[in-house]
Amino acid sequence: MSGSIDTGIPAASLSRRGFLAAGGAMIVALGMKSSVAAPGPGASLDAARPASWIEIHADDTVVIRTGKCDFGQSSIYTAYRQIVAEELGIPFEAITTVVSGDTDRSPDGGGTFGLLRNNVLNLRKVAAYTREAVLDLASQQLSVPRDRLSVADGVVSGGGKSVTFGRLVAGQDLRLTIPVSGELTEFFGLQVQGSPPFKPAAAYTIVGKPYKNSIVRPKISGEAMWVGDVKLPDMVHARAIHPATLGSKLLTAGKVDKAQFPGAQVVVIGNLVAVVSANEWEAVQAAMQVASDTKWSDWKGLPGHVRLLDHLRQNVKWDEVPATKGSANKGDTAVAAAKVHSGTYFMPFLKHAPIGPTVSLADVRPDGSVTVHTHSQNPQFLRRLIAKMLAKSEDAVVIRTYPGPGHFGRSNGGNAGSEDEAVLLSRELGRPVRVQWMRADDMKWSTQSSPSYADISIGLDASGRMASYRADHKGPPMQDDRPIGAILAGLPTIDPPSPTNPSRIHSAVTSVVDRWVYGAVPNVAETGHGTYQIGQRESPIGVGLRDHSMRTPIQFQQNFPREVAITEAAALAGADPLQFRIDHVSDERFKTILARLREESGWVTRRIPAPGARANGEAVIRGQGVSIMLRDNGYWACAAHIAISPAKGEVRVERLTIVVDPGIVVNPLQLRRQAQAGSLMGVSQTLHEEVAFDEKGITSEDWSSYPILTMAEMPDVKVVLAPRPDVGIYGQGSESANALAAPAIAGAFLDATGKPARRIPLRPDYVKALLTA
């Protein structure tokens, strides 16, 4: 009873495996021998057999599966559903289930980032392939030529006949096999190949609507199980005792005071020390007691945050890693200029700083199977890292994912910090282990967003137009995916970032990633300079300050200096900084959103600094600033209006206005929420955030030593969506919005005070120094 049907697309093939007495489904499977689709939800715990992408059931419901996860931005529950429903020709509500992340129940792997940029292409193509296969099936069943059929609302109709998707698959066991490339557990996962026909954007009825995020209700009602809520039978609670410095080795582990903590136990694996107990509070207290009694070797090898910029400028050998040229470089920046602006710009280490510290559970069974319960942005790559650490087959490892505290890219290479420690402790103890890092562990032992500095010079011609732009961006790399527990235990990991790392994403080379937008500037020379992570090579345990991508990695570090420098160049030219941008961008989409920003923000067109700008005094002064960025096909412009008390050094952001043209807006409700929150997190970074560290390690250890924005400090935020659906591309949301505030606020600082702000955070001690410089 099996057979095949011509889908009309060379790349995909539909096979009929049989007819069923009841039910029926069409399941979209992978075109790879090693990854045969499992026959339905919950039917497989075999990690080598990820399940299907899309299943159409006889009751007209549809399941979609993705290896990507939700990090609070909702895209897999909103935009993904909308895009699949649109391509497939079914109602949004017909997609009743979204399975995500779990390595044994999702098909494609890869990292959760750029969801609307590239990643949704997998499911979008699968949906398009499936719609074509549905049309073939319907043509057969209805005996109507395919070109007379059309699809809408889950119904195929034509020639006076119609049939629902459910009726088409009822009683059958259908498999649509589609072509893929890549490796499931590789960093970028699998990519669906071929070019199935996409629905034209002009015909969209679902994309563009403000659908609600289906995970919000279960989260808010308390029904959703978060990773920290998972309880495994017979599990113990663990607290790690991390080394005294970022380069310390264990001398002697402390002993548990059994009289005080009878149920607690110390576990030592190399330099990995932990205390476990069936009682969580006992584990917490016993860990503190044992930590006070544990001896580590001393180590000093970091420059300290106070000397960080000097260290980067004077001590780092920038010729160890090849430099890279910007793709927009042209002309000769040595061209003669009437006036020159030059400056050095600096961005410190920043923390992802999730509200909940990383927590994971692991169950390593005597049969060799390993199950990890966590909140990861790249579970298949985590599976690879865990297998590598244990020298096991990847088939033995399953990663299950749950909602967790947003950590903004920290785990897009698999681990957020606690996963591998849970695995090693469970293997040692032979029972499930839950590792909950405490606040200080999460601040001091997680990765951070790396620092950078830039030397920029801008030449103006006699008429005040930019004739040349030169920028040298320098900083450590941004993607250390080595699990910390594996490092401490001395077990195998992938390599740290270096110029020779075979994985491109894990290279120490710094590219110019902030897309150049000032096309009217005739001479441009941008260069990226990379180096090794600070202290990593010097640390006897290979740790040092480990870095990891955060929201708009590298682009934030390059866009901040560029946009602040452009504002300073406008000041030198005697121009209005918003009009100065309009005069130098070449893309009409930027001109449009900048003009819109001028209206929406109440921008006053005039020279900068403002008349009456002051760098001293008790009275509050005000300023306006602007920034722009092109990221993932999204055009962004931001205006900040701020108030400063020079005597106190206090900066208050009063209003933030954002205009975004992302091409097609998939979901205006969710995009607005993402942009509001993302931009406010940017205000937090601008006003407060800098990782403090001394020669030994990180000294920011809680919310008082790493403060973030509070509600009382929030400005009014206005987000204006200015879509351009005709361009046919989906832009991105919150991560782009995150980078906008800092350069706009720094521009407003110059406007208000007449003094440049070439670094963040703009907290009182730095502000006072800037004002007296």
């Binding site: 609070g72 509200i355 967790g404 929150a677 993302g678 406010l680 919310w703 400090e713 929030m714």
Partner: protein, 175 residues
């Protein structure tokens, strides 16, 4: 053995008297909406109501709450139903207006902080049914042991959520 009253029920507790209420709620009573954030009363993720006033359960020993009533987000629907004398059928289908507002306004990004936010906002609205923006910011920033922190910075959505909740509660009064 300690007895505490949580979400309207008397519960026997085995944990030692110094155990922070947060661990008792989560590990012993299986009430998972208060979240572990800092363990230092610096963020508000673990907030619960104690006789209607917000406290931080991560630093509150369980034996200090024996003669008072603890309410977690899990217990907010029943609290609302009791306050408004809703019929059992209606009560079974009703979330607290703050929860409904949070869903209507799509307040959360990741959502981990929102349990503490909703507890604090419930406390606020029970005292002040029509708060101004400044009242809301004050409640969520300076009124307690620390500001209620949201790393996703969903503060604009929270502000809209509180006003929506106030309006749902006022409608309830009319209806």
């Amino acid at each position: 053995m300690i007895t505490i009253v949580v979400n309207g029920e008397k519960r026997q507790v085995q944990s030692s008297p110094d155990t922070p209420l947060l661990y008792v709620l989560r590990n012993e009573l299986n009430l998972m909406t208060p979240k572990f954030g800092c363990g230092l009363a610096q963020c508000g993720a673990c907030s619960v109501l104690l006789d209607g006033e917000e406290i931080r359960s991560c630093i509150t020993p369980v034996d200090s709450v024996t003669d008072k009533e603890v309410t977690t987000v899990d217990g907010l629907p029943a609290r609302w139903a009791k306050q408004r004398s809703l019929s059992p059928e209606k009560a079974a289908k009703t979330l607290h207006p703050v929860q409904e507002a949070w869903i209507e306004e799509q307040v959360p990004q990741c959502g981990i902080c929102q349990f503490g936010m909703m507890i604090k906002v419930t406390e606020l609205l029970e005292h002040n049914p029509k708060p101004s923006d400044d009242d809301i910011k004050e409640a969520l920033t300076t009124s307690g042991p620390s500001p209620h922190l949201c790393r996703c910075a969903s503060y604009a959505a929270i502000l809209e959520g509180v006003h929506r909740a106030a309006s749902i509660m006022a409608e309830g009064d009319l209806g």
